[in-house]
């Protein structure tokens, strides 16, 4: 039943991600380069649903969220590396998964890279890096590293006060959003609500399996790979089934919209996306999570490691986007200079 539930959730999630074009790479980048905040708003809706939902489920005793220890060097380095990889791969961990389902071969290359990257660290040749960076942890009064514990909030009322303090400004900001134009597929409200509810549902069906964590892509990918390669089923959980369902759901959504098509990027871009995927894999394994495990699920528990990691994923994303932007501009300027010196012509193709 849980397997069926997991695959169903994955199908729905893949469908929602594809219909909503839910790309966290774009959301993170938009702070730096663009003025459009639609995907940031979608992310905020997801967090809003999950911060409140997870706190409620915890209060009801359904789950006790697992929170990463505050191994700050790993969160910083891993997050930054992941952010860089995400730009090169042309999509975050979840984005790569759902674009694979749509038939984008570049994303399939990125996924293969991601799998290799994670395998190199988790029990692989580069495991030492992870161990070194995770060796230093900061103690938050001897409890899990969450904002609740950092602020010393013991009582239920104080915890909910903090949640209200975070949620209310977010709701006010969201309510002032301008109309989203040029929409293809779902708008940010619908996308955020769908992804948010499915992320929360993941917590619930995971709890039924004794797994106190929500949606994630990194660990389930590692576990799935290990299972397929060595037959060792340790670590296979409902999240692994979700990961299987996502590309299928995305394929169905793309098929319905007539967007499912095998598309091969040019060789350079193909290699770049593969390298980006591998870099993402390394980063995610060091930091202990990706844009989903940390930036959605971890942040929902107000985990300090997740918040730190997310900040550095953003920073890595901005730095790499800046590099790409500058190098593309230089390339274009060189092209124009070359053209001017040859036959003066106004158009390129």
């Amino acid at each position: 039943m849980i397997v069926a539930g997991g695959i169903s959730l994955g199908l729905l999630l893949g469908y929602a991600l594809q219909r909503g074009g839910y790309c966290m790479n774009t959301a993170f980048r938009s702070f730096y380069l663009e003025k459009d905040r639609s995907l940031v708003r979608a992310w905020a809706v997801v967090l809003l649903i999950n911060v409140i939902g997870v706190a409620l489920l915890t209060e009801l005793g359904v789950l006790l969220p697992e929170v990463a220890p505050f191994f700050w060097p790993a969160a910083i380095v891993g997050g930054f590396v992941f952010g860089i990889g995400m730009v090169l791969a042309g999509g975050c961990a979840s984005g790569t998964y759902y674009r694979c389902g749509r038939g984008m071969l570049g994303s399939i290359a990125a996924l293969v890279g991601f799998v290799i990257g994670t395998a190199l660290i988790d029990g692989g040749a580069l495991v030492e890096i992870q161990q070194q960076l995770r060796g230093t942890t900061i103690d938050v009064s001897g409890r899990e590293a969450t904002l609740f514990n950092l602020l010393g909030l013991e009582s239920t009322a104080a915890r909910w006060l903090l949640i209200a303090g975070i949620s209310i400004p977010a709701i006010v900001w969201l309510s002032r959003a301008p109309k989203q134009r040029f929409l293809i597929g779902w708008g940010w409200r619908k996308t955020g609500a769908a992804v948010g509810v499915l992320a929360l549902a993941t917590w619930v069906i995971s709890a039924m399996q004794g797994r106190d964590f929500g949606l994630s892509f990194t660990q389930p990918t590692v576990a799935l790979t290990r299972f397929l390669v060595t037959g060792d089923s340790a670590g296979i959980s409902v999240a692994s089934f979700i990961v299987i369902g996502v590309p299928i759901g995305a394929f169905l959504a793309a098929k319905a919209a007539g967007e499912a098509i095998l598309r091969m990027p040019d060789p350079g871009r193909f290699v770049r996306q593969f390298g980006g995927g591998a870099t993402m894999g390394l980063g995610a394994s060091i930091a202990g999570g990706c844009n989903i495990g940390h930036s959605i699920t971890g942040v929902s528990t107000l985990g300090i490691t997740a918040i730190t990691s997310t900040a550095f994923i953003m920073l890595g994303c901005w730095v790499m986007t800046g590099i790409v932007y500058r190098s593309e501009r230089r390339k274009m300027e060189a092209e124009i200079a070359a053209m001017r010196s040859a036959v003066p012509q106004g158009e390129t193709s």
Partner: protein, 376 residues
């Protein structure tokens, strides 16, 4: 397949997926997997005599590990009827037996060596020998696994040190070691194994498990019983132990405070808290019956004195109680016979003769759940 057919099928697939997902969650709520078992009931009415509805899933792996006579072997008993599934030959008397959280292996220590022997509880064979790095010839005293099995905490005989190991596939890699001055006895961990608790006679010392820092001391209302036994409820909100005169002590994990319940329980026999009821069960001082408390509120729910017929079978006294992790709790009598007790109603379902005479140790090694992981 033409496009209209495709467009008609896809929403149906998605609707089916949504229904399956909803059904999974609803079923989880109905069968109690989500809420952690039946709600706690109190009052005498639930303790009606008669047949019990205890059921044990037959597909469970592992078993109840009992060290009886001779003490050089582990008997693996079926939790349903206490029948013997097999015996693990140790060759000598063990110091401790600790099942892995997965339940299919057991770590065994011996009084005179730092090496840990690992045996399979399903094949009853020796699997591997682990010489823990940093053991330095010391002898392990107690082993404590984190809930997901990725970490093992080892305490040593004649040393106040605690060593922390990463555990994977029956291999240990040393992480660090820290000292616990004045503390002794087994270690207890909170649910995430972020905190470790160790008794120091009149108090419980708390350490941060990620760097070994001493955080706090909980002062106990009375001197701790010699058995040094504590047990957490499944949600790890309350730690239950006993003082030297047999009064149960409840420690509130979040508040780091302890209180005593004035009732005479046996100071020798360790209490148990089955996960599906969260009832803290104590054997009374006369060792002829059981007290039940709500593990979270500390409310006394009920107590029963076993009937003379049952006590006769048990040899007159209860020697220990074991949480089988699979439904019933076993009250093992001095005769070696086992009474299967329903932890919700305290009614006795069955009395089995498992030949577990002179039981010196008994632990559950049942696989209940699959999927509790360290990474994201």
């Amino acid at each position: 397949m033409n496009r209209t057919t495709v467009n008609r099928i896809i929403p149906i697939v998605m609707a089916a997926a949504a229904i399956t997902l909803t059904a999974t969650i609803v079923l989880g709520i109905i069968d109690g997997t989500l809420t952690g078992g039946s709600p706690i009931t109190s009052g005498q009415s639930v303790f009606a005599a008669g047949g019990s509805t205890l059921q044990v899933d037959e597909d469970l792996e592992g078993g109840i590990l009992v060290i009886a006579d001779p003490a050089t072997e582990i008997r693996v008993l079926d939790p349903a009827d206490a029948s013997e599934r097999g015996r693990i030959e140790l060759g000598r008397e063990p110091a401790t037996i600790t099942p892995t959280p997965g339940g299919v292996s057991v770590f065994v220590t011996f009084p005179d060596t730092e090496e840990i022997e690992v045996y399979s509880t399903t094949e009853f064979e020796h699997e591997t020998t682990i010489a823990p790095e940093g053991g330095d010839g010391r002898t392990p005293e107690d082993l404590t696994f984190s809930e997901n099995g990725d970490t093992l905490f080892v305490t040593w005989r004649d040393s106040d040190a605690v060593s922390v190991f990463s555990h994977s596939m029956l291999g240990l890699s040393f992480r660090y070691e820290f000292a616990t001055p004045d503390a002794h006895g087994p270690l207890y961990r909170n649910r995430r194994a972020t905190r470790l608790y160790r008794g120091s006679g009149s108090g419980i010392e708390i350490y941060f498990a990620q760097n070994g820092e001493h955080i706090d001391t909980i002062t106990l209302p009375g001197e701790q019983a010699d058995n040094e036994a504590w047990v957490f409820n499944a949600r790890h909100t309350h730690l239950w132990g006993t003082d030297a005169s047999g009064n149960p002590i409840v420690v509130d994990e979040a508040a780091s405070s302890a209180r005593e319940i004035d009732i005479s329980a046996s100071p020798e026999i360790a209490p148990v808290i089955p996960a599906d009821t969260e009832h803290a069960l104590y054997v009374d001082a006369a060792q002829t019956g059981v007290f039940a408390f709500d593990a979270r509120s500390g409310n006394r729910l009920a107590d029963v004195t076993f009937s003379e017929k049952v006590l006769d079978e048990l040899g007159g006294r209860i020697a220990r109680i074991v949480d089988t992790g699979a439904g019933p709790v076993w009250a093992i009598g001095v005769s070696g016979k086992i009474a299967a007790v329903d932890p919700a109603t305290l009614s006795i379902a069955d009395v089995h003769d498992a030949g577990a005479r002179e039981t010196v140790m008994a632990v559950s090694s049942i696989v209940q759940q699959d999927g509790n992981f360290a990474c994201f």
